[in-house]
């Protein structure tokens, strides 16, 4: 235990150090360093999680051994280490799966710069997961924003430039609101550490002092982080940013970056402000309504998309809606369902973006539906990934998505008021819409090759031979990544009790 005690701080500092070293490394060495760092940290996080599950107590780690009111703290428990492990595994698989795109999209001389962004992004996500201090959270939110912009922009064309500009602007509006929220909290309570703030806030509520500023602060946190995690009315930047980037970047952005902000939001609501104040709070109802609108309207938008990556991006908007629906229910069961959805969506959507990259490769790099006809037969692995992804998104049993739907429906039914009716209806409608657009794309990629039937046969053979001869090693990584994603998806679907247990135990020690 004594050594594992250092894992959280180590997982924040090691990627930063490696990122600085990457600056002077060539492309291949920086990739190897990145992979090594991620594997080491994933193993350490696994050991940490294991020790918690064996009954080790959760702990706070004092940076530089300064005590509670002034020091900077890191807090680790089941939930944090499980999230960290999820971030690391999905990051690793996304980088593996998108590797052949990285070379064509970025250019050899700049690959090490891409890995610097990735490493700093990783560090910031782990810091957002582990931190116990609001201002540290703000600093890492900004690092997260800039590096996420970096991995979008690394594929330099007009689309990514414009998309990352819009992404940065919306993100900075969000962090501005988040920062003024922190300032208000500091003014109200005089603390920046989460447990101390909770104590002070509870005291304020008991005495009835400063109620208006407190409500404003909670609203500022909610809106600021909702802007960054693309809750429905604030999602306008997401489809461009996520669809124009390189395959690995899209997978990381859609699977992980949004989730780190959502986890921070859960942390602020149920650890900083505290469950006593947040349960039944009006802002949660607002999040619930917006989440439900996002579930439905994101799906409707995806229905009319003719571009596979934009369709997946709008599907992300809809799936983020499920998470906010869970948070908005305001019960522990709801938050637990939201966290299950965080993990499931990270795994599924990253797989779909990587597979979409494979399908585009099999269709001359085009991503509109006409070009993609029959591509599932040309790239069988990506086709299989889309089948699994579709099943999971719809929520069929034995796939990960089923667990989300099950926990969310159970949590919604437990609410026993208008929230239950509203969210249950929305879940049903959204599932139908999701099924329509995912099955449509399945029938498209496994359909016949359209106008160029004969051509397709030739191209298919050419594609296969090219892939298996020239890029053998790169392609094995891509295939391995997709197979691992499919394996994780099925594992979550079949052994859901493990994931749900970790989350429930983590939530019980979270306050």
């Amino acid at each position: 235990m004594s050594l594992l005690y250092n894992v959280p701080a180590f997982s924040i500092l090691l990627p930063m150090l490696a990122g600085v070293i990457c600056l002077v490394l060539p492309a291949r060495a920086s990739r190897r360093l990145t992979n090594a760092v991620i594997i080491v940290l994933a193993l350490l996080s696994f050991l940490l999680l294991n020790s918690f599950l064996d009954g080790a107590p959760t702990f706070t780690y004092r940076m530089g051994h300064y005590g509670a009111p002034v020091g900077n703290e890191i807090r680790a428990g089941e939930l944090e280490s499980a999230m960290a492990m999820m971030f690391l595994v999905v990051m690793m698989l996304s980088l593996m799966g998108g590797r052949n795109h990285l070379r064509s999209d970025i250019g050899r001389s700049k690959v090490n710069l891409y890995y610097i962004s990735v490493l700093f992004l990783l560090s910031s996500m782990l810091a957002l997961t582990y931190t116990n201090d609001l201002f540290t959270a703000y600093v890492f939110v900004e690092i997260n924003t800039v590096t996420a912009c970096g991995i979008i922009i690394s594929k330099e064309d007009g689309y990514t430039l414009a998309a990352s500009m819009r992404y940065l602007i919306m993100s900075l509006l969000g962090s501005g609101l988040f920062l003024i929220g922190i300032c208000l909290v500091y003014g109200l309570t005089g603390h920046l550490l989460m447990p101390n703030i909770q104590e002070a806030v509870n005291q304020l509520v008991r005495n009835g002092h400063f109620q208006a500023p407190l409500q404003v602060t909670i609203a500022l946190f909610a809106v600021g982080l909702a802007l960054k995690s693309a809750l429905w009315p604030f999602h306008s930047w997401l489809p461009d940013a996520h669809s124009s980037a390189s395959a690995a970047s899209s997978a990381i952005l859609s699977g992980l970056v949004l989730k780190s902000f959502i986890f921070l939001m859960i942390k602020i609501f149920f650890r900083t402000v505290g469950p006593d104040v947040m349960t039944g709070h009006a802002i949660l109802n607002l999040l619930l309504v917006f989440g439900i609108l996002g579930m439905l309207l994101g799906s409707v938008n995806a229905l009319f998309e003719k571009d596979i990556k934009r369709m997946l991006a709008f599907s992300s908007v809809s799936q983020i809606g499920y998470i906010f629906c869970g948070i908005g229910l305001g019960t522990i069961a709801g938050v637990s369902a939201a966290l299950v959805q965080v993990v499931v969506h990270a795994v599924t959507k990253a797989m779909l973006f990587i597979a979409a990259g494979g399908l585009m490769d099999a269709s001359d790099g085009k991503k509109d539906f006409n070009a993609l006809q029959g591509s599932g037969k040309r790239d069988v692995v990506a086709g299989a990934a889309f089948v699994v992804g579709t099943m999971s998104m719809i929520g069929l049993p034995f796939f990960a998505g089923f667990i989300t739907k099950l926990t969310l429906v159970t949590a919604a039914a437990g609410a026993h008021d208008w929230r239950a009716y509203l969210s249950l209806t929305a879940i049903v409608l959204s599932t139908i819409l999701t099924a329509i657009y995912y099955i449509r794309i399945l029938s498209l990629i496994f359909g016949k090759n359209g106008s160029e039937d004969q051509d397709g046969e030739v191209r298919s053979r050419r594609f296969l031979s090219a892939h298996f001869r020239r890029h053998l090693s790169m392609d094995t990584e891509y295939i391995l990544a997709i197979l691992a994603f499919i394996g994780i998806n099925l594992w979550i679907g079949l052994r859901s009790d493990v994931l749900v247990d970790i989350i429930n135990v983590g939530l019980s020690t979270f306050q």
């Binding site: 703000y138 900004e142 800039v146 414009a162 500009m165 602007i169 900075l172 509006l173 501005g176 500091y186």
Partner: protein
């Protein structure tokens, strides 16, 4: 009410400036104006923080060894936060400006709506 504003003058000014910066960042079409808006917004937050830490007739918190009266010094934490915030703001502004230069080279305009419009036109031509 009047008294309220006078006693909290720096905070009131900070919130008004924050509103100006926020709406500029959100609504201005020119990218440079957006960046200026961002900087006004961040500066407003620093003003707010500095006002929170200010104590009348107190000096900078450079404390001699031994027991001292905390009322004689301003609160050092907000100043530390302001410094960190300035560093963050400078780096974000640098990224935004670099991005603006690249966008200008690519599209020959600083108007974000015009850039989005040009991309739409390009998309339509690509489909045809």
């Amino acid at each position: 009410m009047n008294n309220y504003i006078v006693t909290n003058l720096p905070e009131v000014a900070a919130i008004i400036l924050f509103g100006i910066g926020f709406s500029n960042l959100l609504l201005a079409r020119n990218l440079i104006k957006k960046i200026i808006g961002l900087n006004i917004m961040d500066t407003a937050i620093y003003l707010f923080l500095a006002a929170k830490g200010y104590v009348d007739n107190a000096v900078a918190p450079i404390v001699p060894p031994g027991a001292v009266d905390p009322d004689l010094y301003v609160n050092p934490v907000p100043s530390g936060l302001v410094l960190t915030g300035i560093v963050v703001s400078v780096s974000v502004t640098a990224v935004l400006l670099a991005l603006t230069v690249r966008l200008y080279e690519e599209f020959n305009t600083l108007d974000i709506d015009e850039i989005v419009h040009q991309l739409r036109v390009k998309d339509k031509e690509a489909i045809r």
